[in-house]
């Protein structure tokens, strides 16, 4: 038990970070079917927002809570800009979207390199995240607890928004049957844009969390993009509950593997497992059922 608890807790925190990175994709990829390879750079943008906010407001106790909504808005606008300038012309052409957004990802990385030092920038964690809580004798860093709380809050907010708000209904309706949504009076183009804004904004929030855990540099988006997509696919595309489970499973598996082997091998092993899982169950953990499919 003493052996298993630390990797379990650390793994849950890593899973929560993965979940934050993937959550926006449940909207842009899961709901809208867009393969946005620049999602990782929206995470990076969120991390740099945390840094810049800290330069303006030196007290990290205040700057981090402030950076969360700011990062959401900044990354959201980057996403909106991407949707309006590029993606909207490519909705039925996934390969073109993939290539174009890889290009955008490279441009954003280059832009970050121009603006910020190449070796990256430090983001200081707020003092209220210093310290640990005692879990059965293990000193669990508060920083990890924070990531989990943040992820849980984002998941709950997104799920409630989709399920109960009128806008959530419009998103779901548009995804299910665009023509029928239009003729039911839904302005589906604005639904697309707002969906993309929120999905990208969530990447920004993930970036703030990432800045407190790993480094903040121009390459940081790259390490999140593939795991994030894998987690969304494994969860059953567009299914938030599935994405939560998949992210936690991958995070915990990765941490255990890292315990027994090396870090990079652990990542490879975790994703080999996901790929094997998808061979057995291509539809992912959860699927939607209707009379038509039953």
């Amino acid at each position: 038990m003493d052996e298993l608890l630390p990797p379990l807790l650390n793994g849950t925190a890593l899973g929560a970070l993965l979940l934050l990175a993937a959550l926006g994709l449940t909207l842009t990829f899961g709901q809208m079917g867009v393969i946005n390879m620049a999602h990782g750079e929206f995470i990076m943008a969120g991390a740099f927002v945390a840094y810049v906010t800290q330069q303006v407001i030196p007290s990290s106790d205040l700057s981090i809570p402030l950076a969360l909504p700011l990062a959401f808005v900044v990354a959201g606008f980057l996403g909106l800009l991407l949707e309006v300038t590029i993606i909207q012309w490519m909705y039925r052409r996934p390969l073109d979207t993939l290539l174009a957004t890889v290009g955008v990802a490279l441009i954003l990385q280059q832009a970050a390199l121009q603006i910020f030092p190449a070796q990256g920038v430090p983001v200081e964690k707020p003092s209220w995240l210093d310290g640990q809580i005692d879990v059965l004798g293990y000193e669990w860093p508060l920083r990890q607890v924070f990531t989990i709380v943040l992820a849980a809050a984002c998941v709950a907010a997104l799920a409630a928004w989709l399920k109960y708000s009128s806008f959530g209904r419009r998103i779901r309706a548009t995804v299910q049957n665009r023509d029928l949504a239009e003729t039911s009076g839904v302005a589906t183009r604005s639904v697309d844009r707002i969906t993309f804004f929120v999905g990208s904004g969530l990447a920004g929030v993930a970036g703030v969390a990432a800045s407190l855990i790993g480094g903040t540099n121009s390459q940081m988006g790259v390490q999140y993009i593939i795991p994030a997509f894998l987690v969304v696919v494994a969860g059953g595309i567009g299914q938030i509950a599935g994405t939560v489970i998949a992210a936690l499973a991958v995070g915990i598996a990765m941490t255990f593997f890292a315990y027994w082997t090396s870090g990079s091998l652990a990542q490879v092993l975790a994703f080999v497992l996901v790929v094997i899982f998808l061979q057995i169950r291509p539809q992912g953990l959860f699927t939607v059922r209707t009379r038509g499919l039953a």
């Binding site: 009128s166 209904r169 299910q176 029928l180 239009e182 039911s184 009076g185 302005a187 209707t290």
Partner: protein, 228 residues
């Protein structure tokens, strides 16, 4: 209410409609014709799901030819598509809420529809994909009526529905028309269509093959036109 002037429309490169017009004078118009004649295409062009390559669609005195469908709905058009379409993953109630959202009297309209269509009230929390075909058609009509339209566009509302419910749906349509609603109706059931219509149009291969004043007296000439 609705006037269509000499439209050409189709899908991609293929033209389906050739110079089709519907006069603005009649409030209840029936569109008849064989399978593949272009009836659905005409209705899709009317609501804006496809853009005519030529001609105009005028609604309530306004040229709406270039408006998106949701804008036309705002202006008072409502469209019930062929094939009992609904948002299958949304519950019956959510299907209604979707169109009621943002309307001042939205709640009241939903309540009114649940009263008008008791089956919808019974299965309000069930996913629409699990409703029967007839129930889904009632849901589609309810969604359209919540928007309090000036023009109701119906594409074969009684297709594939059991006779007793067909009579109900027909009664609903006639009642609405008497209440002052304009109707553009595609219907295989010629007897009913002509009875309800003030004006009818028979389409054949995307062209108006015959048109005239509604009423059962037109039955003979319609049958003749459709036999060609």
């Amino acid at each position: 209410m609705l006037e269509i002037v000499d439209i050409d429309a189709g899908y991609g490169g293929t033209k389906v409609l050739h110079g089709v017009s519907i006069p603005g004078s009649a409030n209840i118009v029936a569109v008849l014709g064989h399978n593949g004649a272009g009836k659905t295409t005409l209705l899709r062009a009317t609501i804006g799901l496809i853009r005519p390559t030529r001609g105009t669609v005028r609604f309530d005195g306004e040229d709406v030819t270039h408006l998106a469908p949701n804008r036309r709905v705002q202006r008072g058009m409502a469209y019930v598509a062929q094939g009992q379409q609904s948002f299958e993953q949304l519950t019956t109630l959510e299907n209604l809420q979707l169109v009621a959202d943002g309307r001042r009297n939205g709640r009241a309209k939903i309540a009114e529809m649940l009263e008008r269509f008791p089956a919808l009230a019974e299965f309000a929390t069930r996913k629409a994909g699990l409703l029967s075909g007839g129930q889904r058609q009632q849901l589609a009509i309810a969604r359209a009526l919540i928007t309090e339209p000036k023009l109701l566009i119906l594409d074969e509302p009684t297709e594939g529905i059991q006779p007793t419910i067909v009579a109900e749906i027909e009664q609903t349509i006639i009642g609405l028309a008497e209440g002052g609603l304009s109707v553009l109706l595609v219907e295989q059931h010629i007897g009913f269509a002509l009875e309800a219509a003030e004006h009818y149009v028979v389409l054949a291969s995307g062209r108006v093959a015959q048109e005239g004043t509604g009423g059962t007296a037109a039955m003979g000439s319609v049958r003749a036109a459709m036999a060609i």
